[in-house]
């Protein structure tokens, strides 16, 4: 899918309003007070999505990717 029609990226109507906040206090655990912004910024997103699913449906998915099939299976398992 090497084109924008099939590899769909978010457009202006897809994203919510974003507010940026600068967090300035020093990280006591980081080297010289530094905070990572690569992996530490990336990791919480899937966890937040998994928590949102748990909040909405009461089911815990603990492996990525979270697919419709996994959710339907978990819902069926809970009913059965």
């Amino acid at each position: 899918n090497p084109n924008f029609r099939d590899y769909v990226i978010p457009g202006p109507l897809d994203l919510p309003p974003i507010k940026s906040i600068l967090v300035e206090p020093v990280d006591p655990n980081g080297p010289f007070g530094a905070k990572g912004i690569g992996e530490p910024a990336l990791n919480p997103a899937p966890a937040a999505v998994a928590n949102a699913i748990y909040d909405a449906l009461g089911i815990r998915i603990t492996a990525l990717p979270i697919t419709p099939q996994k959710i339907l299976q978990a819902l069926k398992k809970r009913e059965g």
Binding site: N3, F4, G11, P12, I18
Partner: protein
Amino acid sequence: MKVKVHLRVNGSAYEVEIEPRRTLLELIRDDLELNGTKEGCGLGECGTCTVLLDGRPIKSCITLAVQADGREVTTIEGIEGDDGTLHPIQQAFIDHGAIQCGFCTPGMVLSAKGLLDENPRPTELEVREAIAGNLCRCTGYQKIVEAILSASSK
């Protein structure tokens, strides 16, 4: 077999002789050497090729050059003042941090100009709809929307 096309670009008249299949983007970038307009996808999906045709935003990569015959094209190079002062929309993009890599910016600015020339006080939703055909990978659109809204109140 070539055809003659007469068009105005950024206020200047041009007469060119081109193959009928030539796109307006090819004419702008290759024949007129106005490189502010970009080719991001060539398929009309990304909007980096956006120019104004008789004041309305269009995607030049999927527009034939012959469609501009007798009409007025405005590219990003054409919106600054005669003394080189930036257009208020361009200045707003700078002031609001709406530019990162800058590749989407010419298209964004022209889509915004197309909107504001027609609707001087748009809502945020109207702004987002006006730039819906312009993709940006860098900014998440927030500051672009803020810049356009800020330019609209001037």
